[in-house]
C-alpha cells in the first residue's frame, strides 16, 4: 500500500455500567419468567406449559443456531466486513450449553405431552408403524443429545479459538477455523434439519415437508441477523466501537436481512405452494389446521408481517443506513420470528388437547396464554444474560484478526 496504514484499534472491553439496567434485567426476568411459568404451569396446566416452553426454547434455539451459521459462513467465505461484529455472533452461538440445560425439562417433563407419537398405539396407526425405526424414544433422545452437543462444541470452539487469537494474534487460527468450517457447515445443516424434523415436524407425525429444514433455517438466519443488528447498534449507542462501526456495516447487515426476508418468503411460499398443488391429505392438514378459525387471520398476518412489511421497509438505501430505521425493522423481524415459531408449534397444542378430550384432532383458533409470554421472557432473559456475560469476558471485537483492517474500511459503492 502506498499510504501508511492507520494503527489498528486495541481490544475493547464491554462496559457493563453503560448498559443501564440490562445486566440486572436479563437474569431477573429470566429467573422470574421461568420459575413462575413452571410453578404456575405445572400446577394448573402442564400441557399448555409444555408447548409454551417448547415455543420459547425454539425461539432461543433458532436465534443461536442462526448466529452459529453466520459465524461458520464468515469463516468459510473468508469474509472481511463482518470481523468487527463477529465476537457478538460467536457469543450468541456459544449459548448452546445453556440451551442444552434448558432442553432437559423438555426431555424429562414434557416429552410425552408434546409428541403424540410417543404415546400412540401402533396398531391404531399403521403410518406410524412405518416411521417407528426413526420415531422411537431411545433414538430420539440420542439424536437430541447429538444435535445440542454438536452445536455446543462448534459454538464454543469458534469463540474460544477467536479469543485465543486476541492474545497471540496467530493467523494460523484463522486458517484453522476456515478449514473447520468446511466440515462443520454440512454437519450444521444436517443437525438443524433433523432437529426441525424431530422437535417441530414430528409434533404432527403424519405430516411431512421436505422443505422443513430449509424453512427453519431461513428463519434462523433472518432472526439472528436482526438480533445482530440490534445488539451492534445497542453497543454503538452506549459508546462502544467508537470510530470503528460505520454506516457501511449497517448497510451490509441490512442487505443481508433483506436477502433473508426474501429467502424466507420464497421458501415458505414454495412449501405451501407444493402442498396446495399436490393436495395430499397428510400434507394439507398442516395448513387446514392453521386456517381454522382465527388461525386464518393469524396465518395471513404471518405472511404480511414476516415477508411483505420488512421487504418494503428494507427496500431503499436510507432504510438500511439510518440506525433507527434499521433497528426498528430488525426488532419487527425478531417479533415476527416469534410469531412464526408460535404458528408452527401452538396449533399442535390444540390437537393434543382435542385428542385428550376424546375428540378428533382439530384446532379452534388463536388463543394466546400468559404462559407463552412467561416462558419466552424466561428463556430470552437467561440467554440474554449468557450473551452479556460471554461478551464481557474479553474484547467485544476480534482485536487481532488479520482481516480487521478490511472490516473497518469496508464501503458499499453506491
Amino acid at each position: 500500500m502506498s499510504h501508511s496504514p492507520s494503527p489498528l484499534p486495541s481490544a475493547e472491553k464491554l462496559r457493563l455500567e453503560s448498559l443501564g439496567i440490562l445486566p440486572v434485567l436479563f437474569p431477573l426476568i429470566g429467573v422470574i419468567g421461568l420459575v413462575s411459568a413452571f410453578v404456575w404451569g405445572l400446577m394448573t396446566n402442564p400441557m399448555q406449559l409444555a408447548f409454551s416452553y417448547l415455543f420459547a426454547f425454539t425461539v432461543g434455539f433458532t436465534i443461536c443456531a442462526g448466529a452459529l451459521f453466520w459465524t461458520l459462513l464468515h469463516h468459510a467465505l473468508d469474509a472481511d466486513w463482518s470481523v468487527l461484529m463477529r465476537r457478538i455472533l460467536e457469543s450468541i452461538a456459544s449459548c448452546f450449553p445453556v440451551l442444552l440445560l434448558l432442553f432437559l425439562p423438555v426431555i424429562f417433563l414434557f416429552s410425552r405431552e408434546l409428541w403424540h407419537w410417543m404415546t400412540t398405539d401402533l396398531s391404531e396407526d399403521p403410518l406410524l408403524a412405518w416411521k417407528r425405526p426413526f420415531l422411537n424414544e431411545p433414538f430420539f433422545y440420542l439424536r437430541c443429545g447429538f444435535y445440542l452437543l454438536f452445536f455446543s462444541v462448534a459454538g464454543m470452539l469458534y469463540r474460544n479459538l477467536s479469543m485465543r487469537q486476541d492474545l497471540d494474534g496467530d493467523p494460523r487460527i484463522t486458517l484453522r477455523l476456515r478449514h473447520t468450517a468446511y466440515g462443520f457447515i454440512p454437519l450444521f445443516v444436517l443437525c438443524l434439519t433433523f432437529a426441525g424434523f424431530d422437535w417441530l415436524m414430528s409434533l404432527d407425525h403424519h405430516w411431512y415437508s421436505t422443505m422443513w429444514g430449509v424453512y427453519l433455517f431461513a428463519g434462523c438466519a433472518q432472526s439472528s441477523m436482526a438480533i445482530l443488528i440490534l445488539v451492534t447498534n445497542g453497543l454503538v449507542r452506549t459508546g462502544h466501537l467508537k470510530g470503528l462501526f460505520t454506516v457501511e456495516h449497517n448497510h451490509i447487515m441490512g442487505m443481508l436481512l433483506f436477502a433473508f426476508t426474501t429467502f424466507w418468503g420464497y421458501i415458505s411460499f414454495s412449501q405451501y405452494f407444493l402442498q396446495w398443488y399436490a393436495n395430499i391429505p397428510e400434507e394439507t392438514w398442516f395448513f387446514v389446521y392453521r386456517n381454522t378459525g382465527s388461525w386464518y387471520a393469524y396465518s395471513i398476518f404471518l405472511v404480511v408481517g414476516h415477508f411483505f412489511i420488512p421487504f418494503i421497509l428494507l427496500l431503499t438505501q436510507p432504510a438500511k443506513r439510518t440506525p433507527w430505521r434499521i433497528c426498528a425493522t430488525a426488532a419487527w423481524v425478531v417479533l415476527m420470528h416469534c410469531v412464526d415459531i408460535y404458528w408452527i408449534i401452538m396449533p399442535n397444542l390444540q390437537l393434543q388437547q382435542s385428542r385428550h378430550a376424546g375428540h378428533a384432532a382439530a384446532t379452534t383458533g388463536f388463543h394466546p396464554h400468559l404462559l407463552d409470554l412467561l416462558a419466552l421472557v424466561g428463556v430470552l432473559g437467561v440467554l440474554g444474560h449468557t450473551v452479556l456475560w460471554l461478551l464481557s469476558r474479553g474484547s467485544i471485537f476480534p482485536a487481532r484478526d488479520p482481516r480487521l483492517r478490511e472490516s473497518l474500511a469496508v464501503t458499499n459503492w453506491l
Binding site: F269, Y272, F273, W276, Y277, N279, W413, L414
Partner: protein
C-alpha cells in the same frame, strides 16, 4: 443547448493517472460545473461520489417495468384461465393466487430487467453513432491508458479562457478545444506546439 454562433463542444484535458482524474473531478465539482464528464479505461472507485452524482433515475424505469410486468401477468392469467377459456384442472379454482404467484414473479422480474435496460439507454442517450469527443484524436487512449475530463460549452459556468486556466490549475495536460464538426477541431499536434 448549443450556442448557434459556435460549434464548440467543450474543452478536453488529459490527466496522468486515475488518482489525478479523481482529484480533478472533485475540484471541478467544487467549482459548480454541471455539464461535464470524465472518461477512463476502467471504472474508478469513488468517482460517482467525487463527481457529486445524485441517485440515478434508472430505478424509476425499473419500477415502471415491474408494475407493467405484474399487471401483464395478472391480466394474462386471469383472462385466459377464468374468462376466455375456463377449465377445471385438478379441482382447483379457475383463478387462484397460488399457481399464479410464480408467474407474477417471473414476469415482474423480466419486465423490471427490460425497464432497467431501456431506462439506462434512454437516460444515457444510447445508442448513438458518434460523439464530439471522438473528434479529438488523443481521445483514442480513453480505451487504453488515457484519463480524460471534458467540460462542455453548454455549461453556464463555461467560459473558454477561464475554463482553460482552471483545467491547467488542476493538472490537466494537452488541453484542447473540441468542436462539433470534426473539420474544426484543431489538429492536436499543432495545438500542442502553439500552446
Amino acid at each position: 443547448m448549443i450556442q448557434p454562433s459556435s460549434s464548440l463542444f467543450g474543452l478536453g484535458a488529459e490527466f496522468s493517472s486515475a488518482a489525478a482524474l479523481l482529484e480533478a473531478a472533485k475540484r471541478i465539482h467544487a467549482h459548480g460545473f454541471r455539464k461535464w464528464d470524465v472518461y477512463s479505461p476502467f471504472p474508478i472507485h469513488g468517482m460517482d461520489h467525487a463527481m457529486g452524482f445524485k441517485r440515478s433515475r434508472v430505478s424509476l424505469f425499473s419500477l415502471l417495468g415491474g408494475c407493467t410486468g405484474l399487471t401483464v401477468a395478472f391480466v394474462l392469467i386471469y383472462y385466459t384461465s377464468a374468462i376466455n377459456y375456463p377449465l377445471i384442472v385438478q379441482g382447483k379454482p379457475y383463478f387462484a393466487l397460488e399457481p399464479s404467484l410464480p408467474i407474477f414473479f417471473e414476469l415482474t422480474i423480466l419486465l423490471t430487467a427490460f425497464g432497467t435496460v431501456l431506462g439506462l439507454l434512454l437516460l444515457t442517450l444510447l445508442p448513438r453513432l458518434h460523439h464530439p469527443v471522438f473528434n479529438w484524436d488523443r481521445f483514442q487512449k480513453a480505451t487504453d491508458d488515457g484519463f480524460f475530463l471534458v467540460l462542455e460549452s453548454t455549461d453556464p459556468r463555461f467560459e473558454s479562457a477561464s475554463s482553460r486556466q482552471l483545467l491547467e490549475q488542476i493538472g490537466g495536460l494537452h488541453i484542447t478545444e473540441i468542436f462539433q464538426d470534426p473539420e474544426e477541431t484543431p489538429n492536436p499536434v499543432r495545438q500542442e506546439t502553439t500552446a
